[in-house]
C-alpha cells in the first residue's frame, strides 16, 4: 500500500498509483483537516494530484524524486496560485 493512512495523516510512500484515488478521496472527505505527507513519495498519478487539488490539501514534507520535484510547488500551494514568497522557502526544505 503506497499510501499509509494514520489517524489524521496520509503518508505517500513510493510510487502512488491511480487505484488509491478512491480511498484517498474517502479519507480526505472524512476529515477536512487531514494532513498529507509526501516526503517519501517517488511518484504520484494524476488522479491523486487531482484529489489533492480538489480538496485544497497543502502537502507536507518534500520529495526530491525527479517525478515529484515539479509537483511540489503545485501541491504545496494548491488552491492559491500565489505570492512569490510561497516559493522562496524551498531551498531550506531541500537541505
Amino acid at each position: 500500500m503506497p499510501i499509509r493512512y494514520a489517524r489524521r495523516r496520509a503518508h505517500f510512500e513510493g510510487r502512488c498509483t491511480v487505484e488509491e484515488a478512491l480511498d484517498l478521496t474517502a479519507f480526505l472527505a472524512a476529515d477536512a483537516d487531514a494532513k498529507v505527507s509526501v516526503g517519501r513519495c517517488t511518484g504520484m498519478h494524476a488522479a491523486l494530484v487531482q484529489v489533492l487539488l480538489a480538496h485544497g490539501v497543502r502537502v507536507q514534507g518534500r520529495s526530491l524524486a525527479p517525478d515529484m520535484i515539479r509537483l511540489m510547488p503545485i501541491l504545496g500551494g494548491a488552491g492559491a496560485p500565489s505570492a512569490p514568497h510561497d516559493l522562496a522557502p524551498e531551498p531550506e526544505c531541500l537541505s
Binding site: 478512491l22 484517498l24 494524476a46 488522479a47 494530484v49 487531482q50 484529489v51 510547488p73
Partner: protein, 773 residues
C-alpha cells in the same frame, strides 16, 4: 518490427492506395457508384487493418479517419464533394509518403504524427467531429494568450520569458486530457513530465471542483500547462498519443530578426522551418506530378487545386496560362508544362523547390540518422518489387522449357556431324557449345523457378485460425505446431495444396482427434497436437500432417471398405495393414457414421488424392492405432521441367523420372538369384526384386552379343517406398524434358505418365512406374 511482414505490407499498401485513389476518382465522376465506394472502402479498411500490425500510429490514424469518412459516405450519411475527394486523395498521398518513409527507414519521420493528426482532423471535421486542438503544421505557431499563463507561477514565468527574450523559442504546451483518460491507463501528469526541458509546470482544474459526494476522483478535470524549451517536433513526438488534446503556442513573439511579422500576403519561411500554406501546396503538387508523371485520372484534381490556389491568391490573371499548360500536358501526355508553370509560381512565392522533401522538412536530424532526410526526396527510388501477370511468367517458363528441349537436339547434331559427315572437330565444337547452352538454360530455369517459388507459409498461415474454429465447434482441444513454413515450392503447387490440406486437417480433427475425456482416459494429454510440417526432399517438397489422435484401425477400414463395396473381401484381406489404411483414399470411402458438416461426405479424401496426383505428387498415410496418423504429401518442387533417365528397352527408348532412380548397376548373370519364381539380386545387403521391363512392356528384349560381358543393365528405382531393380537393355543419357501429359484417347492408356519430344524429333514415352509395378 517484423521485416518479412513489413516487406509484404509495403507493396500491398501501395496497391491498396492506388485502388483507393482510382475508386475515388470514379466516385468523383459518378458519386452514386456503389461498387466504387465499396472498393475504396474495402481498400482503405484493409490498409487500416494491416497497418495495425506495425508501430505506425500516425499512418493508422490517418487511414482510420479516411475509413470513417468513407464509411459515412457508404451508408449514405455523407455526400462526397469534390473538395472532400481532394482531401481524401491528399491524405492517401500522405499515406503514400509514410509508406516510403517506412520502406526507406523502417519507421515514420518525426513529423508524421503531426501531419497525420492534421490530416485526420480535416477528414473528421466533415463528420462533425471535433477538429483536434493541435495547431496545423503549416501555419506558424500563435502566441499563447495571457490566460494560458495565469496558472504558472510568476518566478518561473519570468525566467522563461527571459530565455525567450534571449532568442530561445519557448513553447507553451497546454494539455487538456480526455475526462475518461484515467480509465485508459493514461497518466497526464506523467505524460506531460516526459517533455524535455520543462521550465514550469502548472496543473489547474478545467471546471470548478465538484464538492463533497459529487466529486469523482476518476473524472479527469485537470488542465496541465507546461513551459518548455523543447522544439515543436519534439513536443509532438513525445506527446504523440495525446496530440489531439494538446495545444502548442509560442510563449512570446519570436524576435523580429528571425522572421518578419506573419503577414499572410507575403509568406515566408517561419523560424521553425515549415512552409507557408501556398508554398506547401505548390511543393506538394510539384512533388506529386514529378513522382506520378502524367496520369489523366489524377490530373483534374491537381488542376482544381492549383486553380483554387490562384483564385485565393487573387491571381486569376494567371488562370488562362494554367489552363494552357494543362491542355498542353494532356496533349503530350507529359507533366513538364505543368511543372514549369508551378515553378514560375514557386519563384514568386516560395523558396526554391528544396521542398521536394516530404511536405514539411524533417526536424533537425538527431544523432545517428544524419543521412536519413535525403531519402525522402522527391523522386523516390523506384520500387524494387515488380508485379507481373502470372501468364507472362508462365509464357516465359514455357519458352525456357522449349529452349531446354531444343538444346537437347545438339548432342544428336554432334553425333551426326561425327558419324555422317565424319568431322570429329565439328562434333567436339558442337558439344562444347552445347555445354555452355546447357549451363545457361539450367540457370535460366533455376531463375524462373525462383520467380514462381512461394513459401508454403502462404497456405499454412490460414490453419491456426481454422483449427481453432473447428476445435471449438467440436469441443476438442487442439494446438497446431507448424514446422518449415518457409519451405518454398512452385506457386501452382502451393496454391493447389490449400484444399487438400484443408481436407486432411479437417479429417484429422473430426475423426482422428478424440474428445478431451477420451484422450485423458487413454493416458494422453487433453490437448491434442496437429503438426504441419514442410520440408524439401531432393526434388520434391514434402508436406506432412500428423496428429496424435486415435489413429486408423486397419481392421475397421477393411470391413468398411468391403461393406461399401470399395474393394472385395479377398482383396481386402490380402492388403497389409499399411495398405489398408491407404484405402481411405479410395473414392466413395468415408468412415464417419454420421455425416458431419465438417467432413464425412466421403468426398474429401479422394479429392485429396486426385488433386495431389494431378500435380504429379503422391499421398501416403501411416497410422499407429491409438497414437496418431501421419499423412504425407510428396509433390514435385516445380512442375515445369522433369529430369528423366532415358533407357533402351526392346529397341525403343523410354524415360523414367530421375527422382525415382537410385542407381544404375550392371549385374553379372550369376548375381541374379531366384526366390520362387521371382528374380532378385542383393544390393547393399538388401534383397532387391528384379523386374524384366521388356516382359512388362510386352516387347522383345534385345538379344545381347555374345562378347558383351558387361552383365544385365539394371536400373535400381525407389517406387512407393520399395526398392526395385528394372532390368533393361541399356542405359542412355539423362535429360530435362517438358512432360506433356497423355490426353485425348491416350489418357486412358495405363503405365505412362506422359510424353515428350526428343531432340531428333522422336516421341519419348515416360513410364509411370508406380502404376506399372
Amino acid at each position: 518490427m517484423n521485416d518479412t511482414l513489413l516487406a509484404r505490407f509495403i507493396p500491398e499498401a501501395r496497391e491498396l492506395l492506388q485502388e483507393a485513389a482510382a475508386g475515388l476518382l470514379t466516385l468523383e465522376r459518378h458519386p452514386d457508384d456503389a461498387d466504387a465506394i465499396n472498393a475504396v472502402f474495402r481498400a482503405v479498411h484493409t490498409l487500416k487493418g494491416s497497418s495495425g500490425l506495425f508501430e505506425v500510429p500516425a499512418l493508422t490514424r490517418l487511414v482510420h479517419a479516411g475509413e470513417d469518412l468513407l464509411s459515412a459516405v457508404r451508408i449514405g450519411s455523407f455526400a462526397l464533394r469534390p473538395d472532400v475527394v481532394d482531401q481524401l486523395l491528399d491524405s492517401f498521398d500522405q499515406v503514400g509518403v509514410f509508406i516510403e518513409q517506412l520502406e526507406a527507414d523502417g519507421r515514420l519521420a518525426a513529423d508524421a504524427d503531426r501531419i497525420a493528426a492534421r490530416g485526420a482532423g480535416l477528414l473528421r471535421a466533415h463528420l462533425g467531429e471535433a477538429e483536434p486542438v493541435a495547431a496545423t503544421p503549416d501555419t506558424p505557431l500563435e502566441i499563447a494568450p495571457a490566460d494560458w499563463l495565469a496558472d504558472i507561477d510568476a518566478a518561473s514565468l519570468a525566467a522563461a520569458r527571459a530565455r525567450a527574450d534571449a532568442g530561445e523559442t519557448m513553447l507553451v504546451v497546454r494539455y487538456e486530457p480526455d475526462p475518461g483518460c484515467f480509465y485508459t491507463g493514461t497518466d497526464p501528469v506523467a505524460s506531460i513530465q516526459t517533455l524535455p526541458d520543462i521550465a514550469a509546470l502548472a496543473i489547474a482544474p478545467r471546471a470548478p471542483w465538484a464538492r463533497g459526494a459529487d466529486f469523482d476522483p476518476y473524472h479527469c478535470n485537470l488542465r496541465l500547462t507546461a513551459l518548455t524549451g523543447a522544439t515543436r517536433e519534439t513536443v509532438e513526438q513525445v506527446m504523440t498519443y495525446e496530440l489531439d488534446q494538446v495545444a502548442i503556442r509560442l510563449l512570446s513573439a519570436p524576435p523580429p530578426a528571425v522572421v518578419s511579422a506573419p503577414a499572410p500576403a507575403a509568406p515566408a519561411v517561419p523560424s521553425d522551418g515549415t512552409l507557408p500554406p501556398v508554398a506547401h501546396v505548390l511543393a506538394t503538387q510539384s512533388r506529386i506530378l514529378g513522382r506520378i508523371g502524367y496520369d489523366p485520372l489524377r490530373l483534374p484534381s491537381t488542376a482544381t487545386i492549383i486553380a483554387n490556389l490562384l483564385r485565393s491568391l487573387g491571381r486569376e490573371a494567371r488562370l488562362p496560362a494554367w489552363e494552357a499548360a494543362l491542355a498542353e500536358a494532356h496533349r503530350d501526355a507529359d507533366v513538364a508544362p505543368l511543372l514549369a508553370f508551378l515553378a514560375t509560381l514557386d519563384a514568386a512565392h516560395a523558396p526554391p523547390p528544396a521542398p521536394m522533401a516530404a511536405p514539411v522538412p524533417v526536424a533537425p536530424p538527431t544523432a545517428g540518422e544524419p543521412a536519413a532526410a535525403p531519402h525522402h526526396d522527391g523522386a523516390r527510388a523506384p520500387s524494387r518489387t515488380l508485379k507481373v501477370d502470372q501468364g507472362k511468367i508462365d509464357l516465359l517458363m514455357t519458352l525456357i522449357g522449349e529452349l531446354v528441349v531444343s538444346k537437347n537436339a545438339l548432342p544428336f547434331l554432334a553425333r551426326r556431324a561425327e558419324e555422317v559427315h565424319g568431322s570429329r572437330d565439328m562434333a567436339r565444337e558442337i558439344k562444347e557449345q552445347y555445354a555452355i547452352i546447357d549451363r545457361l538454360t539450367q540457370e535460366m530455369q533455376g531463375a524462373i523457378m525462383q520467380v514462381r517459388m512461394l513459401p508454403v507459409a502462404e497456405i499454412f498461415d490460414r490453419f491456426p485460425r481454422l483449427i481453432r474454429d473447428i476445435a471449438r465447434r467440436l469441443d476438442k482441444q487442439v494446438t497446431l505446431a507448424v514446422e518449415g513454413a518457409d519451405t518454398a515450392a512452385d506457386k501452382t503447387i502451393v496454391e493447389a495444396l490449400g484444399d487438400p490440406l484443408l481436407h486432411i486437417v479437417r479429417n484429422s480433427l473430426d475423426h482422428g482427434i478424440e474428445p478431451p475425456q477420451a484422450r485423458l482416459a487413454a493416458g494422453k494429454p487433453a490437448m491434442a497436437t496437429v503438426r504441419l510440417r514442410a520440408f524439401q526432399d531432393t526434388d520434391s517438397v514434402v508436406i506432412e500432417v500428423s496428429d496424435d489422435g486415435r489413429g486408423i484401425d486397419p481392421v475397421a477400414i477393411r470391413d468398411i471398405a468391403v461393406a461399401k463395396a470399395v474393394i472385395g473381401r479377398d482383396e481386402a484381406d490380402r492388403l497389409s495393414d499399411q495398405e489398408a489404411v491407404n484405402l481411405i483414399y479410395r473414392p466413395g470411402f468415408s468412415t464417419a457414421a454420421a455425416v458431419s458438416d465438417l467432413s464425412g461426405r466421403g468426398v474429401g479424401m479422394d479429392v485429396v488424392l486426385s488433386t495431389v496426383q494431378k500435380l504429379g505428387g503422391r499421398v501416403a498415410v501411416t497410422s499407429q492405432l491409438g497414437s496418431g496418423t501421419t499423412t504425407r504429401l510428396t509433390l514435385p518442387l516445380s512442375m515445369a521441367v522433369t529430369r528423366v533417365m532415358v533407357v533402351d528397352i526392346g529397341g525403343s527408348l523410354y524415360g523414367i523420372p530421375m527422382d525415382m532412380v537410385v542407381q544404375t548397376v550392371r549385374l553379372a548373370p550369376d548375381a541374379i538369384r531366384r526366390i520362387k519364381h521371382d528374380e532378385v539380386c542383393v544390393l547393399r545387403d538388401e534383397v532387391v526384386p528384379l523386374v524384366r521391363m521388356a516382359q512388362r512392356l510386352g516387347v522383345t528384349a534385345a538379344t545381347r552379343d555374345g562378347d558383351d560381358d558387361r552383365g544385365e543393365a539394371v536400373l535400381v528405382c525407389r517406387v512407393a517406398d520399395r526398392t526395385v531393380g528394372l532390368v533393361i537393355d541399356d542405359f542412355r543419357e539423362g535429360m530435362d524434358v517438358i512432360l506433356k501429359p497423355m490426353n485425348g484417347i491416350l489418357a486412358s492408356v495405363p503405365g505412362y505418365c506422359g510424353t515428350t519430344l526428343l531432340g531428333d524429333g522422336r516421341v519419348l514415352l515416360i513410364l509411370d512406374l508406380q502404376e506399372m509395378l
